[in-house]
Amino acid sequence: MSILINAESRIMVQGITGKRGRFHSERMLLGGSPIVGGTSPGKGGDWVFSGRVPVFDTVKECVDSTNADTSVIFVPTHATADAILESIDAGIKNIISITGSVPLQDMMRVKSALKNSASTLIGPNSPGVLIPGIANAGIFPDDLSVPGNIAIVSRYGTLAYELMSILKEQEIGLSAIIGIGDEPVSGIDFQTCLEFLEADPHTEKIILIGGPGGESEIKAATFIMEHVTKPVVAYVVGENLAVSIMRPFFARNGGIYLDTIGKKANAFIDAGVLLAATLEEIPNLLKR
């Protein structure tokens, strides 16, 4: 058993014939993840990867033929909400949107549709979900991790890669890496991931990577205090950014309030979480 995806997951890719979709689908396949099909409107009936993976016009056709239950989305930004809505409509269980920067009102339409469905959305702007040695749905480089018992949940793809690289050097194995994305309106948050990981027998310790803006870290801290028995390590990037020189930068980035960073760090400490000052410090905190 593992969380969100496992060896039995039937993964499909929306936008499988595009440059990025094709590249990463092939990488997932080579890494041993079962890609059962993909979509590319107008190219239904084609095959990709030397006849290994069938292409369909619609997600529904793909699901009908292949029983796909997980979809990884690589379509352009302007088509992302439509792609997610299509997956919800076709009854896909886990929808992972690699594409990011989706207009907020598009995401509101998606959130409204998600409420009346059994689908879970990861992202937008997610690097995917990786269960090392078992399955990879997204763009996480396989060679950055070895199987183990530590889980990572990160708002940022790049910082997850940074940490994976640091942990691999120290031969610390991972049970799951989930990229929840950094969009203002998005799918699953830290709290939902914590619920899954608390129940996952393969996960012993959990690492959270957060940052400026939003309330997700605060909610996570409250949830940890009340419901999580496993040790949690957290890193909140941007501790030094609450300076006046950064004001215009954050004003342009949707007016993210910088004072949230200190609040988040304190909330984690209050919840008994080990707070890391740097990513490099995390291996030592895991040994405690």
Binding site: R20, F23, H24, T77, H78, I98, G100, S101, V102, P103, L104, Q105, D106, M107, M108, R109, V110, K111, S112, A113, N125, P127, I139, F140, P141, S154, R155, Y156, G157, T158, L159, Y161, E162, S165, D182, E183, P184, V185, I209, G211, P212, G214, E215, V237, G238, E239, N240, L241, V243, I245, M246, P248, F249, R252, N253, G254, G255, T278, L279, E280
Partner: protein, 380 residues
């Protein structure tokens, strides 16, 4: 991205929401002409995106012709949060009986628009404290179902407002929601919505913010934005799909993804260093976007050294390398480049770059930042 008041009011006029007559002016002479055309009394409103305009003296009532020149000169001399005043909106001033707040804001956590009505005028969603001691009522809106008249009435029955005004209020709220939806707004508010002696509702002050992530389909706004928010370099960078942020330092930075941008900036600032610019090339940017980003930094005379920090997932390192090669072949400017390039296709990428002069390669972010700053110190 906040719109200037006059830009927001143009949307209101278009939508058919009653607003006072107004004209724009960029010097005292124009203010004078506008005022006599509109008729006294008028209110002069400094156009600024900074908060605290009223307290800073940026909103002034003028009752008679003799005072116009002096008062407008005073307003043009103001600096509101260190920002100069370039434009004044000259608007018809009138007295009113009562004021309300009517706004549509975005609940990011819930992922839905919320209609808010309050008995207090002058409040704004952007400053939660401004609603202190006033009655607030909120209505969630399902964006797939839209806003309905009965939902607005449900709010009106909870506040002190005459039923004779309900129809007008409903109509304004529906038009406000239309502004919110059609322009990809994250906030559209009227503060204050006033009741005149003739029992007419008027929108005196309004605020509209547009979703940055929707600007690709709201291109009309990009050129309209205040230059202090969106300078020409930012506009140019947007065209090739990267986000450019200017700072007053000497190090030009190219980074993929906002997480790594935060980390790189955090390390720089913790060492008391300030970049000259930070360019976020996001995930999966093209060879030409990298080359164009580098070209911006090569041309920027303030930039003494360039830092490139990439950990590629979606981003392909070989494309970054090709971009670096293309820019250095084209450019006559020689600036040292400090590079950390890891992730997808990194082996091929580093092969491409072997033999390039002026390039130092690092294994991780802390070493990269350290290396670049040491160079700058040595050349200070």
């Amino acid at each position: 991205m906040k719109l200037q008041e006059y830009q927001a009011k143009a949307l209101f006029r278009q939508a058919g929401i009653p607003i006072p007559a107004s004209m724009l002016a960029s010097d005292a002479e124009q203010v004078k002409r506008a005022a006599s055309e509109i008729g006294f009394p008028v209110v002069l409103k400094a156009q600024t995106l900074e908060s605290g305009r009223g307290k800073a003296g940026g909103v002034r009532i003028v009752n008679k012709d003799n005072d116009v020149e002096n008062i407008s000169n005073e307003v043009f001399k103001l600096e509101i949060n260190e920002q100069p005043v370039h434009i004044i909106l000259v608007e018809k001033a009138f007295t009113f009986l009562k004021e309300y707040y009517l706004g549509i804001y975005t609940d990011l956590d819930g992922g839905m628009p919320i209609l808010r009505v309050s008995e207090g005028g002058g409040a704004t969603y952007l400053e939660p404290d401004s609603f202190f001691n006033t009655k607030i009522v909120d209505q969630k809106i399902d964006i797939n179902g839209g806003l309905h008249r009965f939902q607005i009435r449900q709010l009106l029955t909870q506040i002190d407002i005459s039923p004779t005004l309900w129809k007008q209020f409903e109509s304004i709220a529906l038009k406000l929601y239309k502004i919110y939806r059609e322009n990809d707004a994250t906030l559209a508010e009227i503060n204050s919505l006033v009741v005149t002696h003739q029992q007419q509702l008027y929108a005196l002050d309004v605020k509209v913010s547009i979703d940055n992530q929707a600007l690709y389909r709201q291109e009309g706004f990009v050129d309209a934005f205040d230059p202090s928010y969106f300078g020409w370099v930012e506009r140019k960078a947007r065209k090739f799909g990267v986000a450019y942020h200017q700072f007053p330092g000497e190090l030009g930075c190219i980074v993929n993804g906002i997480g790594l941008v935060y980390l790189t900036l955090d390390l720089l600032i913790s060492k008391n260093a300030v970049p000259a610019a930070v360019i976020d090339i996001h995930g999966g940017s093209s060879v030409s976007a990298v080359a164009s980003s580098l070209e911006l930094l090569y041309q920027d005379e303030r930039v003494k050294a360039i830092l490139i920090n990439v950990f590629g997932g979606m981003t392909m390192c070989d494309e970054i390398a090709d971009g670096i090669l293309a820019a250095s072949a084209l450019s006559r400017h020689k600036k040292p480049v400090f590079l950390r390039l890891k992730g997808t296709n990194e082996v091929r990428a580093l092969e491409t770059l072997s033999g390039l002069n002026n390039l130092s390669i690092f294994e991780n972010t802390p070493d990269l930042v350290e290396g670049a700053l040491e160079y700058l110190k040595g050349n200070a």
